[in-house]
Symmetry: C2
Subunit: 322 residues, 2 copies
C-alpha cells in the first residue's frame, strides 16, 4: 500500500484528507502545532494543554465513526463558560489531562473516533509562532500574524519559541513516504510553522518521496497580496532551502464573477505564472457545492474553496504513477 | 435472563450498578433528573440542557470501555471557563445540542461508552425540585434542599415543577422487571425525586416485580437526623402510598470508632429497628477499601460507604431466588 503524508494546518489538511480517506492508501497527517487563537488559544492559556484545534480537524476528516460523532467533534458551544469551544477541542484537552500526555491523548482519540490513518503533531513542544517584519515590528503569536495586514511588506524572519524538536513519528512518516502532499493553507500560519520545527526541513530534503504542492486558490490581502504560484514556491523554498516539489497542483477554473466580487475585499485568485514548468498539473479543483451558512465553521470560512474529491482524484493519479 | 431495574440518584445507583454489572442479568437504571447543583446546574442554566450529572455516573458504572475512558468521563476541569465541569457532563450536553434531544444523546453515549444495560432518565421534562417545610419555608431547587439543615423539622410537601411525565421507557422497565432495587441515596434529593414523576408510583405499585430497598448506612444531620430503618420506610411510603418492599437489605457491621468519630458531625449510623420484620436481610455491606483522597469524587464523598460487590452478592441471592 502506498504511503501518503499530508502536511499543513487544520483546514487545508481537512480538505485533502477527507478526499484521500476513501482510497486504499496508508495515510497520515503531520499537523502544525502553533495555533493560539480562538478556542484553542483559550484552552492553551487556561489549561496549559497543547493546541488541539488543528489536530481535531484532521481527526474529523479521517474519522470512520458516525456522522453524529463528527458533528459532535465540531460542535461549538454558544453560551456560558464553554462559549466558543469546540467539543472536540475539549475532548482532546481532557484526554491530555487524564492521560498525562498529548501523545497518549491522541492514541485514545484515534480509538474513540475510529481514525483511518494517523494524525501526528509536528512537535509536542509548547511553542509560540513569531514573525519579525521588515519594519522590525515583532508579531507575537499565530493569531496576531493571522490578523495582520502588513505581511505583504515582507518579513525578516519567522521562528517558533522555544525552538522545538520534531515528533519522531513525523520524521518517520516523512522519511518513509511515497508521496508528501503540502496542503493548501494559510502559508504563514499553517504551512510554514511545520517547517520551523527542528528536523522537518532536513527530512523533507532527504526523503525519497515525491513531493506535491497543492496551491491555494485565493490570496489573502495584506498577507499574500497578488501572489502568483511562483511566489508561494519562493516563500516555501526560503525555509526548506531548495525547491523540493516534483508536482505542483493548480486549479484552472475561474469561479463566477459574483463570487469573485464578494471575495474582492479578502483577496484575488492565485494566478498561474508557471505555464512553462513541466511539474505543474492543472485541473478543475473548485467545489461546486452550495454553502449552507449553518454548516460547520470549517466549510463556512471559504466561499471559494477546494473540492476534496477533485483534489484526491488528481493526487491519486500521481500515487498510481509513482 | 432476569430483569433488574435500579432506581435512585447518581452515586447510590453507581455503587449498585457497578456491582451488578458483572452478573448475567438484564440491567437498567432509572435516574433522577432533579439535580441542579455544581457542574450540572451550570450547564442547565447556561445551555438549557437536561441535568447530565446523575446519568453520567450511571453510565460510567455500566461502561465496558477502557479505564481511561471512564477516567475521562469523570475528569473535572480545574481552571478557566471549564472549571468545575466533568468532561462527561460536557459530553452529554454537547450530544444533546448536536442531536437535538436528550434521548438521542443518551443513545449515542451508550454507543461511545459501550454501556452494558440501559440508563433511563425518569423524565425528560425540565423540572425543579421544591420542598415546603413545616414552618412554611419554601426550599427551591435540589441543591438548596441538599444544603438545608432544617429538613428534620419535617415538611409539608415535595413536588417537581412543572409536574413531569415519566419517560415511557422508565415505566416499561418497572412494569416488566423481575426485581426493582431502590439504591441507597440521599432520600430527599436522589430517591424521592423519582417518585414525584407522574406515573412512577403507580407503576411501582402495579408492577409484579419483587422490590428491595438497600438502606443507607449513615444518616445526614439536619436531614435524616437519627433516622432508623423504619423512618426511611415511612418517608418512602408517604409518596408511593403503600409499603411496596418485599426485601429490606441492611448492613449489620459497625465501622471502626475512629471512622464514626470522624463522621459524627455529618451524621450517625442508621439503626436497624426492624429485627422482627421477616423482610429484612442483614449482611456486611461496608467497603473495606482504603480511600485515596485523590480518587474520583464519586468515591471520595463518603468515608463510610457501601461495597459494590457485597451489595451485588446479596441482591443476586434474591434474583436467584425469584
Amino acid at each position: 500500500m502506498k504511503k501518503v503524508v499530508v502536511i499543513g494546518g487544520g483546514t487545508g489538511n481537512f480538505v485533502v484528507l477527507r478526499g484521500l480517506k476513501k482510497y486504499p492508501i496508508d495515510l497520515s497527517a503531520v499537523v502544525s502545532m502553533a495555533d493560539d487563537g480562538g478556542s484553542t488559544g483559550v484552552l492553551r492559556d487556561e489549561l496549559g494543554v497543547l493546541p488541539p484545534g488543528d489536530v481535531r480537524q484532521c481527526m474529523v476528516a479521517l474519522s470512520d465513526s458516525s456522522r453524529s460523532m463528527r458533528d459532535l467533534m465540531n460542535y461549538r458551544f454558544e453560551n456560558g463558560g464553554l462559549e466558543g469551544h469546540n467539543f472536540g477541542n475539549i475532548l482532546l484537552s481532557a484526554l491530555e489531562k487524564v492521560t498525562g500526555s498529548f501523545d497518549r491523548a491522541l492514541e485514545e482519540a484515534h480509538k474513540i473516533l475510529s481514525i483511518k490513518g494517523k494524525v501526528i503533531p509536528v512537535t509536542t513542544n509548547k511553542v509560540r509562532l513569531k514573525m519579525v517584519l521588515n519594519n522590525n515590528k515583532l508579531l507575537d503569536g499565530e493569531s496576531e500574524i493571522d490578523g495582520s495586514q502588513e505581511l505583504d511588506q515582507g518579513f525578516k524572519s519567522m521562528y517558533l519559541e522555544p525552538f522545538p524538536k520534531a515528533h519522531h513519528k513525523a520524521i518517520d512518516q516523512i522519511m518513509t513516504a511515497d508521496l508528501i502532499v503540502f496542503s493548501p493553507a494559510d502559508i504563514y500560519t499553517s504551512l510554514i510553522p511545520n517547517l520551523l520545527v527542528d528536523g522537518i526541513c532536513k527530512a523533507l530534503r532527504d526523503s525519497e518521496a515525491k513531493k506535491v504542492l497543492v496551491v491555494n486558490l485565493m490570496n489573502k490581502n495584506g498577507q499574500t497580496t497578488n501572489f502568483k504560484v511562483s511566489d508561494y514556491l519562493i516563500q516555501i523554498k526560503r525555509f526548506i532551502g531548495e525547491d523540493i516539489f516534483n508536482y505542483i497542483l493548480i486549479n484552472n477554473v475561474k469561479p463566477s464573477k459574483e463570487l469573485l466580487d464578494i471575495y474582492a475585499q479578502e483577496g484575488t485568485m492565485v494566478e498561474n505564472d508557471l505555464h512553462e514548468d513541466s511539474r505543474t498539473i492543472t485541473a478543475n479543483l473548485i467545489s461546486d457545492e452550495i454553502i449552507e451558512q449553518n454548516k460547520s465553521d470549517i466549510i463556512k470560512r471559504n466561499l471559494i474553496r477546494h473540492d476534496s474529491e477533485k483534489i484526491a482524484e488528481e493526487l491519486m493519479k500521481i500515487v498510481d504513477h509513482i
